[in-house]
Symmetry: C2
Subunit: 131 residues, 2 copies
Amino acid sequence: MNNHSSKAKASESVDAPGCDAHLVSLENVRQVQPELASVEKLQQMAEFFGTLADPSRLKLLSALAQQELCVCDLAAVAKMGESAVSHQLRVLRSQRLVKYRREGRKIYYSLADSHVMNLYAEVAAHLEEND
Amino acid sequence: MNNHSSKAKASESVDAPGCDAHLVSLENVRQVQPELASVEKLQQMAEFFGTLADPSRLKLLSALAQQELCVCDLAAVAKMGESAVSHQLRVLRSQRLVKYRREGRKIYYSLADSHVMNLYAEVAAHLEEND
DNA sequence: ATAACATCTGAATATACTTTCAGATGTTAT
DNA sequence: ATAACATCTGAAAGTATATTCAGATGTTAT
């Protein structure tokens, strides 16, 4: 969803720039840094979350959580243009959040697996809990 | 995270525009539409997911999952500028994903609750499963 | 084959986001 | 009080993203 290819010339090595790593920090850094998730994995997860980071796409998922629907029905339900729905379904497909089947000229979409709803529930819980 | 205030003049009512809702669809629409999550909730969830939709922020969370760290250590670990880290921590704070405590001039950040790691695990599972 | 329907695609525009830079605020030690 | 450190903040620049519009592709019925 984004990249920005980490132009941060900030601290190329392990020692910090502004904060002149007074030994105290160096230890933490050396402990934590190697355990970090890989850049590829972080990128992949960010893209996945990015797919869920849009009200329109969440609305489509929320509709599909109830039943299988074709593109034009999704557009009607979500009050979106059909082209916009099509574009967004492609994004959801790219992250395997939805699957589809053709029936005549219509294409019916549905949720790909249960992970989606688990996530939905987990996040809902987090958001309820506070505020 | 985004908004775009739904300028879709697409279908203001229940009937679809291009797809001339041949009764077949109307039924689906009337069933599904009222069960959709509210605009506010969708917006709130989208913002939450948006907070996780960035490799840098995920990297910071990944570091904090291991241990409490101050801003300058986080910058060193994540190889980011300290200003960028500060900006991103504010975003994470706004979604209550991290908490912090002051100790002298340093401010130590840590994960706010366990929901974060549950999410992480759930998404990791989803991403492993395919491809 | 032709017309009508359903979905998809590419380009353009407007908006949102991340980072950097410069400087402000708050904290500790001398 | 002053200097040095740690973090935060606002503005600017470059990049990414969502929607719309116009038209392309594929499907069904006549």
